[in-house]
């Protein structure tokens, strides 16, 4: 039995018909066509599928699409600037070589957007604890931390 779900994705109101067992992650990728949200483990360990739900980070594989009813979802695609340019967090990741294969990157970026919105500091320990829920197998995290530190220092 399918069910209608109405939500806001990256600022746009949408209504779709989904199977209740469909996760929010699968909905975003397969129904909304927003494949920037990546799926690694599909059971809440790797953090690759992190999106913002009403501005708070959540793992989109640990939520049903039908549960997003009435909520605002922001994905990596929603960070694009009005001119189509990179978001400051994306730009910092790029300049600091904070990614290699890029699979984990959308999840990291969404985690960092929330961290900066909360006024997160440039303290290395605090940053490492905050990104501990996102796994990266390429970078060793070092340049990710450097990118976040720079962003935190510039954070108004």
């Amino acid at each position: 039995m399918t069910r209608d779900v109405t939500l806001e994705v990256n600022g746009d109101p949408v209504t779709d018909t989904v199977d209740p067992r469909m996760t929010l992650a699968d909905y975003l990728r397969d129904v909304a066509g927003l494949t920037g949200t990546h799926l690694g483990c599909e059971h809440g360990v790797c953090g690759a599928c992190t999106v913002l739900l009403d501005d708070r980070s959540v793992r989109s594989c640990l939520m049903l699409a039908v549960q997003a009813e009435g909520h605002r979802v922001t994905t990596i695609e929603g960070l694009v600037g009005p001119d189509g340019g990179l978001h400051p967090v994306q730009d910092a990741f790029s300049r600091h070589h904070a990614l290699q294969c890029g699979f984990c990157t959308p999840g990291f970026i969404m985690t960092v957007v929330e961290y900066l919105a909360e006024g997160g500091s440039d303290d290395e320990h605090e940053i490492r604890e905050r990104i501990s829920g996102n796994l990266c197998r390429c970078t060793g995290y070092h340049n990710i931390v450097l990118a976040i530190q720079e962003l935190a220092r510039q954070n108004p």
């Binding site: 039995m1 209740p20 067992r21 599909e42 059971h43 039908v66 501990s132 829920g133």
Partner: protein, 289 residues
């Protein structure tokens, strides 16, 4: 790694949720924060016929202090308590423990009531509940009752909540002002499932310990209070050698299992070390009265 099919029911008010539980009994599963249930569905370890989503229910997200207790709605998210002003000063045990619950994205979504109902001995809230004499209010369509801390954890991942009941409110009795408390945990990586964890509450008066509580997580089939070790502390001076003796006395109370994360002997040693360190930390935090 996709959930199996189920009938999804989004309860709009409490009576509707309780009615669905009464109708479907153990065929139904409550979906609160979903941070444990969703992985269970993905692994097909749970195959409920009906999912009752309670996230829309009003009044289940309360959070306040009342008569020396922390009163928490069953749907209150971990992160709300983490951000609650004054909690780290009033009861550092709770603040210490919450920092070990997964990661921020998990704590944004996961609920306190869900953690208790899931009754995982390696989770933080169940052992906090034992240490803080928690009372749990549960409701069914026809009745309501209060479950006391120890009765909530009847077996491995088995709560005292009946299939037609829903946990609605949790009451944690905070240690009296001046008591010290601490919680320490070791996991393979920060936020992973615990290999061992120890929580302690200490109250010291006139140079003697007059209240001592020691709780262990990931140390057996349920969360554990090490009551023999606790009684060794009572009326003693809060001295290093007393803590050493009490921390050693935790061992007979626990039964950790060998698993992929480590052998049982290693976890026993962790339980001893973490208990000893938590006692020291709680002593440092305790006001002298």
């Amino acid at each position: 790694m996709k959930p199996p099919p189920f009938e999804y029911r989004r309860a709009e008010h409490r009576e509707e949720a309780l009615g669905l539980l009464a109708e479907h009994g153990d065929e139904a599963k409550i979906l609160a924060g979903g941070q444990s249930l969703m992985p269970l569905l993905a692994f097909r370890l749970a195959r409920p016929a009906v999912i009752v989503d309670i996230n829309r229910l009003a009044g289940l997200d309360e959070l306040h202090m009342e008569d020396g207790a922390l009163v928490v709605g069953s749907l209150t998210r971990h992160r709300a308590i983490e951000k609650m002003g004054g909690i780290a000063e009033r009861c550092p045990l709770i603040a210490d423990a919450i920092s070990h619950i997964g990661h921020v994205a998990i704590r944004n979504r996961g609920s306190v009531g869900g953690s208790i109902a899931h009754a995982d001995p390696a989770a933080e809230w169940p052992v906090i509940a034992l240490l803080l004499d928690a009372q749990f209010e549960v409701e069914s369509a026809t009745s309501s009752r209060t479950i006391a801390g120890p009765d909530m954890f009847s077996g491995y991942m088995q709560s005292g909540i009946a299939p037609d009941e829903m946990l609605t409110r949790l009451r944690f009795q905070l240690p009296s002002a001046g008591a010290g408390s601490a919680f320490l945990e070791v996991a393979r990586r920060h936020g992973d499932f615990a290999m061992a964890g120890a929580g302690v509450v200490l109250r010291i008066s006139d140079g003697r310990i007059n209240d001592a509580r020691i709780g262990l997580m990931a140390a057996g089939l349920t969360p554990i209070r090490a009551t023999d070790a606790e009684s060794m502390l009572l009326d003693q001076e809060p001295a290093d050698e007393v803590f050493e003796m009490a921390a050693r006395a935790v061992d007979p109370a626990i039964a950790p299992l060998d698993d992929v994360h480590g052998p049982a002997d290693y976890k026993r040693n962790l339980a001893y070390v973490l208990t000893r360190r938590a006692l020291h930390l709680a002593r440092d935090r305790a006001g002298v009265t």
